[in-house]
């Protein structure tokens, strides 16, 4: 009997330990990133690091400004949002309100499935199809802000569609009926009564999409051109924070390497802010719901 009680207590302890792994993981990630990245930021100077336009780690003297990469990440993400969000939300509207049931049975699993396509496959597709198309029809070298925006826009579609659709479906049917009963058309009822009521859910989907786009790495490297510059046109190449890390980590040493890790710290902070705003949206909609 006593052995049993000891076993119970011991296993409860074991389960507890596994449960706090995720806390330990987040703490460890923070420690390792900040411990390795912060000294570099301090040495370079935070303003020179975040605000500097010149990234020339192999020059004498070297300069480590990642403003171009921050701008690149922001532009690429914004481009992906501009392309992916309207189409994604409208597709969600179609799936939730206008899709014939027989068609829905095919489309729904298809969009769910596509959420799992590995990003490297999207990147390769962009490299072989979108990049040549832009070079031949729009201008520039091909690898560009535009190419990255299109590919990331497609990549975040399944996320936006999935989250928005469930947000739209969560709106009480009585809003739709109430609007129809006032003589509004189906379309007006959907856009004026249902969509406004589902906006916090849709916003959560958009934030999730932003997180995915800003963190995307390998696909972007293949198609964004990776030039360290602030692009003056959408057919110019850009380099994102993520691309900067992967492209140079392989051969970097010393302060250069630390500066790359610090680039990761900046990215990590961006993501933490996004996660926080996500949780704020969630708790707000729970309160209202």
């Amino acid at each position: 009997m006593r052995i049993n009680r000891i076993k119970e207590k011991a296993m409860q302890g074991v389960f507890f330990l596994t449960a706090i792994t995720s806390i330990a993981a987040v703490v460890l990630i923070c420690i390792f990133l900040f411990y390795n990245g912060i000294p570099a930021i301090a040495e370079i100077g935070i303003l020179d690091f975040v605000g500097g336009q010149k990234w020339a780690p192999t020059n004498e003297p070297a300069s480590y400004g990642i403003l171009c990469m921050i701008v690149g990440s922001v532009y690429v993400t914004a481009g992906a949002i501009i392309i992916g969000v309207p189409i994604g939300i409208l597709t969600a509207v179609f799936l939730a309100r206008f899709c014939p049931p027989a068609l829905y049975k095919i489309l729904k699993p298809a969009t769910e499935l596509l959420a799992g396509v590995p990003s490297i496959v999207y990147g390769f597709f962009g490299l072989m199809v979108i990049v040549p198309f832009i070079r031949d029809n729009i201008g520039g070298n091909g690898p560009s802000l535009l190419a990255a925006s299109i590919v990331l826009g497609i990549m975040i579609l399944p996320t936006i569609i999935g989250v928005s659709e469930s947000a739209i479906r969560a709106v009480p049917e009585s809003y739709y009926e109430g609007s129809l009963a006032l003589g509004a058309t189906r379309e007006r009822s959907v856009f004026k009564a249902i969509l406004p009521a589902s906006k916090s859910g849709i916003l959560a989907g958009v934030v999730l999409g932003i997180g995915r786009a800003i963190g995307e790495t390998m696909a972007v490297i293949l198609i964004a051109g990776n030039q360290v510059q602030i692009p003056s046109s959408i057919t110019d190449g850009v380099r994102t924070l993520t691309a900067n890390i992967v492209l140079e980590m392989g051969y970097s040493t010393g302060l250069h390497r630390q500066a790359l890790i610090a680039t990761g710290v900046v990215l990590f902070v961006f993501i933490l802010l996004i996660t926080l705003s996500m949780q704020a949206i969630k708790s707000r909609s729970e309160k209202n719901g």
Binding site: Q12, A25, L28, P109, A110, T185
Partner: protein, 300 residues
Amino acid sequence: MADAINEKQSEIKAINKIAFSQRLKEYKRKPLSLVMYLIVVLAAALSIFALVFLIVYILVMGVPHLTPDLFAWEYNSDNVSCMPAIINTIIITLLTLLIAVPFGIGAAIYLAEYAKRGNKLVKVIRTMAETLSGIPSIVYGLFGMLCFVTAFQWGYSVLAGAFTLSIMVLPTIMRTTEEALIAVPDSYREGSYGLGAGKLRTIVKTILPSAVPGILAGVILAIGRIVGETAALIYTAGSTTGLVDGVMSSGRTLAIHMYMLANEGLHTDQAWGTAVVLLVLVLGINTLSSFIAKKLSSKK
């Protein structure tokens, strides 16, 4: 009897059918509604087209290059076979699951069966798990490099890659397992306690077995993520070609192999073929996962 009613049904001339011409007439008075409708249909067609085009294009371009050479046992610079990478992927996947599954299931058991509702610590654990699932894979890659490769001095190795990936898939396994555990009816627990079984015995003998399909669906989902992962692996498991030789040696997975081929741009045909293998593998794994999940929910 039912047939008779059916027959009668088909004879009913319902007056509440909305003819297409009638709808068109209504749109004439409200042209903006027609425009909105068309925009919605167009957007849906566009997303479906983009996603279907992507898959079909890769299949069309890649399937002709699925030659026996692509699956040769040896990799060399003349024949960039993806076979070693496939085997490396399997090894890394198994190793990752070996680490992540016990932790994920253990954590889920704690959250679902032991923790009291509204517990502060539970809230923190959930927030952290959510934070983990939002972290991009390149940040995991950096962490893995700093922690396992450098600080633990494992070097670029399968082990470092597997540890990095296990942290990455931990939230997925935790969440799906917890959902599966919560879905187990309380009557099972009561029944087991009623027979005098302790909490541990109840969990191991009664609750876990009935949650297996849900857990499995989550694990398979995690496999899909591992197989498709690149950014977290490139500076942890490295990109060495050829078959790995023990857990401390470096080796590229199929997704890394795909990236290398695409980046070098020398073996485009093989890259298309590899893309097909990767795509089919990941989509197959995900289909299996959702199939199991669906089977589970239809049983209830």
